[in-house]
């Protein structure tokens, strides 16, 4: 089920129609407050969130939704401005599309985010104080379950698959976001920041996800 938060009735109706044609169950909200309310009652699989909203804006709505649930959020940015994109990703968005959006593009992004991480028959891996359970699709830190969004989980599983090896942002984008050959590497950076905030003891001095300047990221407890 898709929760569409968009203030313009025509866009709401048009996108709603397009998403329904793709086989999604669509709930719509006209304001950020209403969106947060709907999120609580209807537990959608994904949120498509406009940034320009009356009342609380998309960034704030995104933050409030993040506090409630680990639901994937795709931002609709009106300007495609770098500022909007960065602020949206910092607020916790998993991905973004720029208006006027091609329905095919939006659909592809939704499918990519929604594609469930496939559980693999595998032993539980232990990396330092981190336990990654690829079969049960959960992560424990000091034996406490870490609550990750699907994108964050996918990122961590992808990185930890090859500890010690450097993955470029482009490789990560293709693997996690399923973006074709030219994605926005800031998605990776923003998601790494959020992941670090959840799994690192001191996010500014990461033990697990290391930045390799000029190349990408490397997983490996130090």
């Amino acid at each position: 089920m898709v929760l569409l938060v968009e203030d313009d009735p025509s866009v709401r109706e048009g996108l709603g129609l397009a998403l329904r044609r793709q086989g999604h169950d669509v709930r719509a909200a006209g304001t950020g407050e209403e969106g947060v309310e709907r999120l609580r009652e209807s537990r959608p699989d994904i949120v498509v969130l406009d940034i320009m909203l009356p009342g609380i804006d998309g960034f704030e709505t995104c933050r409030r939704m993040r506090m409630q649930a680990e639901v994937p959020i795709i931002m609709l940015t009106a300007r495609g401005d770098d500022f909007d994109v960065v602020a949206g990703l910092e607020a916790g968005a998993d991905d973004y599309v720029v208006k006027p959006v091609e329905p095919r593009v939006l659909e592809a992004r939704i499918r990519a985010v929604l594609r469930r991480t496939v559980s693999e028959p595998s032993n539980v891996e232990r990396h330092g104080s981190l336990m990654i359970d690829r079969a049960g699709l959960q992560v424990l830190k000091n034996d406490v379950k870490v609550s990750l969004t699907p994108t964050e989980l996918k990122l961590l599983l992808e990185l930890s698959r090859t500890p010690g090896r450097v993955l470029t942002r482009q490789q990560i984008l293709e693997a996690v976001w399923e973006h074709d050959y030219l994605g926005d590497s800031r998605l990776v950076d923003a998601c790494v920041q959020r992941l670090r905030a959840k799994i690192e003891d001191v996010p500014s001095e990461p033990r697990y996800v290391h930045t390799v300047r000029g190349f990408g990221y490397r997983f490996g407890p130090r």
Binding site: D8, G80, D82, P100, P103, Y181
Partner: protein, 448 residues
């Protein structure tokens, strides 16, 4: 060289030099003439007056007509070297009469006053004086006293004065030249700065301003320039803002329309024929409009300086190959993409450049379209009719169409402008030209 001789500086220098020279010559000339007259007159009077006095004193003692002895006595009375003449007789002593011209002798015969003549026909200038001896009633006795003396002393004084004057002038001239240079610099520097600023303004850097120092006419000019530039910048900013605002306002309705174009396309087959045509038309035009608005937004972001460069090390050949493949152009383009040429570029922007250049060549040029990657250069060429010469300078202008007969192209009309802006953001350039063998050649140069 032209500016060296025709500029303001040489003219100012020439004017200063001429002025100095004229002033010096006028002042020196006037004082030279005055001093010369005074000095010569002084010397002449010093010689002439005592002689005239002596002649006058002796006059009553002389019997007329005098004998040779009278003349000799008279001559010996005179303290200056003089010769006393009466008709055919002359005193035995005294200088030779050769120095006295016949005209002077003739003139003295009828003169009742002293006559004199300055002459320069020997090495030194000299003055010849003729004094007639008069009776108490004022009539001539026919006795003449002739004397001459050199004016060499005063002449030397005058000459040294003139030399000093020339030395003075020649000392002042370099000073005048320096002053001219200084003044020229004072005038030319602001003028040159204004010129450079005007050129910068003309080339599109509307934030160009000049320093407004002082309160003279040049400072006024600088102020006028600055306020003109400000107005120009403001009006350009306003028109750009307007485009950005319009594009922005178009986005929301376009998003709604775009969302349903797929629905229109899918269901068109089951619609009545006319309605289906209408639906497909609306759908296709909506997509075009979307592309146009997207391109306008992109251009607006360039104008606002809101576009950032994300540089990374990429293999250029691979990047170009991917760009072609992503658009299904691999089979329609002859690509020469050697491996191993890497560069620091923003890959998304490089993709936009390549897509726009190749797309343009495929649309307007003739097959085969070639893409060649060389170090620092990506070249896109086609075998079409080429670009008309008069269109070449405008080919990267927004909405410029080389072929005016084509009222509306498939693209937004901004593709090449966007490619150009992306190249510029990299610090690179795109050049458009026609190959000698025909066809257009676009050369992208990036400092990778």
């Amino acid at each position: 060289m032209r500016s060296l001789f025709r500029g303001l500086r040489p003219r100012l220098m020439a004017a200063f030099l001429l002025l100095t020279l004229l002033g010096a010559v006028a002042a020196t000339g006037a004082s030279y003439a005055t001093a010369r007259n005074l000095l010569l007159e002084d010397a002449q009077n010093g010689f002439m007056n005592p002689l005239v006095e002596q002649v006058r004193n002796y006059a009553p003692r002389l019997t007329v007509p005098p004998t040779q002895q009278d003349l000799d006595e008279f001559q010996s009375f005179l303290r200056s070297p003089a010769v006393v003449v009466f008709e055919g007789l002359r005193s035995r002593n005294g200088p030779d009469l050769g120095a006295v011209s016949a005209e002077m002798r003739e003139a003295l015969k009828s003169s009742r006053t002293v006559i004199w003549q300055r002459r320069t026909d020997s090495a030194e200038p000299y003055v010849v004086i003729g004094i007639p001896l008069l009776r108490p009633d004022g009539t001539s006795t026919g006795v003449e006293v002739w004397a001459w003396t050199s004016l060499g002393g005063p002449q030397r004084a005058i000459d040294s004065f003139a030399t000093a004057a020339w030395v003075g002038v020649s000392l002042v001239l370099p000073l005048a030249l320096g002053l001219a240079l200084f003044t020229a610099r004072g005038v030319l520097r602001p003028v040159r700065r204004l010129g450079a600023a005007a050129r910068a303004l003309g080339s599109g850097r509307l934030d160009t301003r000049v320093e407004e120092r002082g309160s003279d006419e040049l400072a006024d000019l600088a102020r006028t320039f600055n306020s003109a530039a400000e107005q120009l910048e403001a009006s350009q900013a306003a028109s750009r803002r307007f485009v950005a605002d319009v594009s922005h306002e178009l986005r929301t309705p376009l998003t709604a329309m775009n969302a349903v174009t797929a629905v229109l396309d899918e269901d068109a087959a089951s619609l009545p024929e006319d309605t289906a045509v209408a639906a497909r038309l609306v759908s296709a035009e909506t997509r075009k409009l979307t592309r146009l608005v997207n391109d306008l937004m992109e251009i607006s972001r360039f104008d606002e300086g809101g576009n950032l460069l994300e540089l990374d090390e990429w293999d250029i050949g691979t990047a170009v190959r991917d760009s072609l493949a992503a658009r299904g152009w691999t089979s329609s383009v002859e690509a020469s993409l050697p491996d191993g040429i890497t560069g620091r570029v923003d890959r998304r922007r490089l993709d936009v450049i390549v897509a726009n250049l190749v797309g343009n060549a495929l649309k307007h040029g003739g097959a085969p379209v070639r893409v060649a990657v060389r170090p620092g250069v990506i070249e896109v060429s086609d075998q079409g009719p080429g670009i008309p010469e008069d269109a070449l300078p405008h080919i990267f202008d927004r909405f410029y169409k080389a072929d005016t007969a084509r009222s509306r192209s498939e693209g937004s009309g901004l593709g090449l402008a966007i490619a150009w802006e992306n190249a510029r953001l990299h610090g690179g350039t795109i050049e458009a030209a026609n190959a000698p063998s025909g066809g257009a050649v676009f050369t992208l140069r990036l400092p990778w």
